[in-house]
C-alpha cells in the first residue's frame, strides 16, 4: 500500500507542482502583498489592515462592485433565457438545425476585445445611422451615457455567451427521452405543459452548469468592458476587474489593488460555492 502511495504522489507531482507554482503561490503572495505598501518596484513596510479598511470607504470601488452585480444579474438571466430558447429552437425538427447551431455558436469564437470594438462600431455608428434614418432619437449617442453603456455591455455579453450556453442546453435536451414526452402527449399535455413539467425538470442540471459559467464569466469580465466602453463615461461602466487594474497599474497602488483583488476573490468564491451548493440541493430533491 505504502509503495502505491508513493507512486500515486509521484504521478501527481507534475500537476501538483504546476498548480502550486502558478495558482497557490501567487495567491498567497498576493495576500501577503495586500498587507504591505508595495508599489510594484519595492516594498517599504507592512501596513496591516489599512488597505482593507480603506477599500470599504472607497466610493469608486463600491460603485464598480455594485455595477458588476447589476450587470451580472441582468446578464445571467438574459443569457440563460436566450440560450435555452435557442436550444429549444435548434432541437425542434427544423431543416436548418445544423447550420443554425453553428451560426449561434459563432460569436463565442471571436475574442472579447475584438467583439468589443465591433459592437462599439455598431452602437456608435450603425445605431446612430439607423436612428437618424427612421427618426428614433434614443438610438443616437449610445455608450455616451451610463444607461446605454450598461445595456450595451449586456447586449454584447448576451450575444456572445448565449451560443455557448445553448450548446450545454442542447446536450441535456437531447438526453430527454422521447418516451416521456410521448406519454405526456397521450395524456393530453399541451406544448407548454410538456415543457414546464417534463422537459424543464430534466434539464435542471444544465442550469447549474450554465449559471456557474455565466456567473464567473460576467463577474470577472474585463476585455469586453475595456474595448466597448473603457469604463466611461466618467467610470460609470467600470467593472471590478477593471477598477482593480486601474488602481494597480493606473495609480501604481499595487498593494491596494491587491487588497481589492483579494476581496473580489472572496466574493466570487463565496457566490460560486453558494450557488453550486443550492442548485445541487435542488437537483437532488427533484
Amino acid at each position: 500500500m505504502r509503495k502505491q502511495d508513493l507512486t500515486y504522489w509521484l504521478f501527481l507531482m507534475p500537476v501538483l507542482a504546476a498548480l502550486v507554482l502558478v495558482v497557490i503561490a501567487p495567491l498567497l503572495l498576493g495576500v501577503y502583498y495586500s498587507f504591505t505598501d508595495w508599489n510594484g518596484i519595492q516594498t517599504k513596510g507592512f501596513v496591516g489592515f489599512d488597505h482593507y479598511k480603506a477599500l470599504f470607504q472607497d466610493k469608486r470601488f463600491l460603485d464598480s462592485l455594485w455595477f458588476t452585480i447589476k450587470f451580472s444579474i441582468v446578464s445571467i438571466i438574459l443569457i440563460n433565457l436566450i440560450g435555452l430558447s435557442l436550444a429549444l429552437l435548434v432541437t425542434a425538427k427544423l431543416k436548418t438545425n445544423k447550420a443554425l447551431r453553428t451560426i449561434f455558436f459563432m460569436p463565442n469564437l471571436i475574442g472579447g476585445l475584438i467583439l468589443g470594438f465591433i459592437w462599439q462600431f455598431i452602437f456608435t455608428k450603425a445605431f446612430a445611422g439607423f436612428g437618424s434614418l427612421v427618426g428614433i432619437e434614443s438610438l443616437k449617442g449610445w455608450l455616451s451615457t451610463p444607461n446605454t453603456g450598461f445595456w450595451g455591455l449586456v447586449i454584447l455579453m448576451s450575444w456572445q455567451m448565449s451560443g455557448y450556453i445553448m450548446v450545454i442546453y442542447i446536450a441535456y435536451l437531447e438526453g430527454v427521452s422521447s418516451e416521456l414526452i410521448e406519454a405526456a402527449e397521450i395524456d393530453g399535455a399541451n406544448a407548454f405543459q410538456r415543457f414546464r413539467h417534463i422537459v424543464f425538470p430534466l434539464v435542471a442540471p444544465a442550469f447549474t452548469v450554465s449559471m456557474f459559467l455565466t456567473l464567473s464569466n460576467t463577474f470577472k469580465l474585463y476585455d469586453q468592458n475595456l474595448s466597448l466602453t473603457g469604463g466611461g463615461p466618467y467610470n460609470s461602466t467600470q467593472m471590478v476587474a477593471m477598477e482593480i487594474f486601474n488602481t494597480a497599474f493606473g495609480r501604481y497602488e499595487m498593494a491596494y489593488g491587491q487588497a481589492k483583488a483579494v476581496i473580489f476573490f472572496i466574493i466570487v468564491a463565496v457566490i460560486a460555492l453558494l450557488q453550486v451548493y443550492l442548485s445541487k440541493k435542488r437537483e437532488v430533491e427533484m
Binding site: 519595492q42 449617442g141 451615457t145 466611461g232 463615461p233 466618467y234 497599474f249 493606473g250 495609480r251 501604481y252
Partner: protein, 432 residues
C-alpha cells in the same frame, strides 16, 4: 527489449550530440569576436511605437559600426501601458539596460535604478530647461527623447475659404469669433462641426488641456508642480471657457468620441476644422491624406485668458534612462549609444529626417524638419512662445483618473464646473 535499449541509447547520444555542438558553437563565436573587445548586449525597452521601425534600422547601423555591441529593442506603447509593462519587466528579473522615464514621479520611483548621465555629451547640449525634470542633486538621470508640442490643429483650406486669417487668433476673443464664423458657414464649408472634442480620451482633456491652464500657476516648471501641495486652478475660468467652446461647437456626443474618430475620421477627412492635438498626429493624417497633411494643416495656440494668448505647450514627453544595476561595461556602452544617437552627424541626421523628431538638443539644422506641425512647434519654441509641460508633475493618475473623469461628468451634465474643481482639488491635496 533489445530494441528498446537501442532506442534509449540513440536518444541519449542525440542529446549528447546536441549539447556538444551547443558548446562548440559557443566557443566558436566568442573566439571570433574576441579581438574586437568584449561582446556587450544592450537591451532597450522603449515606448514610442511610431518610430519603432526606424529605430531598429538605426540600431542595426550602429551595430555595424560597433561590432562588439548587440542591441535588442523591445517596444511597448501606443495603446498599451508602458509603465505597467516596465514594472513587470523589472519584476521578471530580465532588466533592460536602457528604458524610458516620463517625469519627476518616474524619477522618484526609479531613482535607485538610474545611472548618472551628466558626463555624457548629449547632456551638455540638451536645450536649456529640458533636463530640469530629471535632475536630482546634480545628477542627470535621463536624456530627452525629443520635443513635442500641441495646440489647436486647424485646417488651413477651411480657414482660407471662410476668410479667416489664422495669424489673427491671439487670444480667447479672437478664437471665439473665428469659431462662430466657421460655425455659421458650416454648411458651405462641408463641415459637420467646428471642433471634435474627444471626451473619451481622458489624456486629451485631463492632461493636455488642463496643463495649458495649470502650467502658468506652476511657473511652467514641472518640479514646482511635482512638489505643490495644493492646486489652485488660478485660471479655472479660462479653462472652462475653452472647454465649453470646444464642447459646444463639437460633433456630439463628446463623451464617447475617441482619438481615432477625432483625428482620422473627422479631421483627416476634413469634417471638422479644428482639433486639440499635437505634432504626433501628422503620421495618422498623412496615412489618410498625404497632400492635406503636407500643405493643409497648422497649429494655433490655446489662449489662456488672463495669461498669454499666443503660446503653445511644448515639452519633453519621455526621457532615456540607463539602468544602474547593469554591468559597468553595459552602462558605458549604453551612454555611448545615446551620445552617438543625439550628437554624431549620422545620429542627428536620422533623428530629424527618419524619426521626424523635433530635436531637444543644440546644434541641429531646423530646416530639415519635414512635417509642418513639427516645424510650427519648433518655431514657437524658438520664439520662446511656449507653455511648459507640467502634467508629468501631477500626482500619479490625477490627470486622467480624477480630472479626466470629472470632466466627463461635466460634459454629461452630471457635475457643475465648481464640482469638478472642488473634487479634483481635494484629491490633489490628499495625494500629496
Amino acid at each position: 527489449m533489445k530494441s528498446k535499449w537501442r532506442a534509449g541509447l540513440f536518444a541519449v547520444s542525440l542529446g549528447l550530440a546536441g549539447i556538444l555542438t551547443g558548446c562548440s558553437s559557443d566557443e566558436w563565436s566568442t573566439s571570433e569576436s574576441k579581438p574586437k573587445g568584449e561582446q556587450v548586449s544592450l537591451d532597450i525597452f522603449q515606448f514610442k511605437v511610431e518610430f519603432k521601425d526606424q529605430f531598429e534600422e538605426v540600431a542595426k547601423a550602429y551595430e555595424k559600426e560597433h561590432e562588439n555591441v548587440k542591441i535588442n529593442i523591445t517596444t511597448v506603447g501606443g495603446g498599451e501601458d508602458y509603465g505597467a509593462a516596465l514594472r513587470s519587466k523589472f519584476a521578471s528579473g530580465n532588466e533592460p539596460a536602457i528604458y524610458n522615464i516620463g517625469g519627476p514621479q518616474d524619477v522618484e520611483d526609479w531613482k535607485d535604478k538610474l545611472a548618472d548621465l551628466s558626463d555624457t555629451a548629449a547632456a551638455d547640449v540638451a536645450l536649456e530647461g529640458t533636463l530640469d525634470g530629471v535632475t536630482v542633486d546634480g545628477e542627470v538621470l535621463g536624456l530627452p527623447y525629443n520635443q513635442e508640442g500641441y495646440g489647436f490643429i486647424y485646417n488651413k483650406n477651411v480657414f482660407a475659404e471662410a476668410g479667416i486669417d489664422p495669424a489673427s487668433i491671439v487670444d480667447y476673443a479672437s478664437l471665439e469669433t473665428a469659431v462662430k464664423e466657421l460655425d455659421s458657414k458650416k454648411g458651405e464649408l462641408g463641415l459637420e462641426a467646428v471642433f471634435a472634442l474627444p471626451g473619451k480620451e481622458k489624456w486629451v482633456t485631463g492632461l493636455h488641456l488642463s496643463n495649458t491652464f495649470l502650467a502658468p500657476e506652476f511657473d511652467n516648471n514641472v518640479l514646482k508642480a511635482f512638489s505643490a501641495k495644493e492646486v489652485e486652478f488660478q485660471y479655472g475660468e479660462a479653462f472652462k471657457k475653452i472647454l465649453d467652446l470646444q464642447n459646444d461647437y463639437s460633433v456630439q456626443p463628446t463623451v464617447s468620441l475617441d482619438y481615432s474618430q477625432q483625428v482620422e475620421e473627422l479631421f483627416s477627412l476634413q469634417k471638422v476644422a479644428i482639433i486639440q492635438q499635437g505634432n504626433w498626429v501628422y503620421g495618422s493624417i498623412a496615412s489618410i491624406d498625404e497632400e492635406f497633411a503636407q500643405n493643409g494643416i497648422g497649429i494655433l495656440p490655446i489662449p489662456v485668458e488672463g495669461y498669454e494668448g499666443d503660446r503653445i505647450p511644448v515639452g519633453i514627453p519621455m526621457y532615456w534612462g540607463v539602468n544602474s544595476n547593469a554591468d559597468e561595461a553595459v552602462v558605458k556602452e549604453a551612454k555611448e549609444f545615446l551620445d552617438w544617437l543625439y550628437t554624431s552627424e549620422t545620429g542627428k541626421e536620422t533623428v530629424v529626417s527618419d524619426f521626424n523628431f523635433i530635436p531637444a538638443y543644440e546644434g541641429y539644422d531646423s530646416t530639415k524638419i519635414a512635417d509642418p506641425l513639427s516645424k510650427d512647434v519648433y518655431e514657437y519654441s524658438e520664439k520662446g512662445k511656449t507653455i511648459g509641460w507640467t502634467f508629468m508633475g501631477y500626482p500619479t493618475g490625477w490627470g486622467e483618473n480624477e480630472l479626466g473623469v470629472e470632466i466627463q461628468r461635466y460634459l454629461s451634465d452630471e457635475a457643475s464646473w465648481d464640482d469638478v474643481i472642488n473634487t479634483t482639488k481635494k484629491v490633489w491635496g490628499s495625494s500629496r
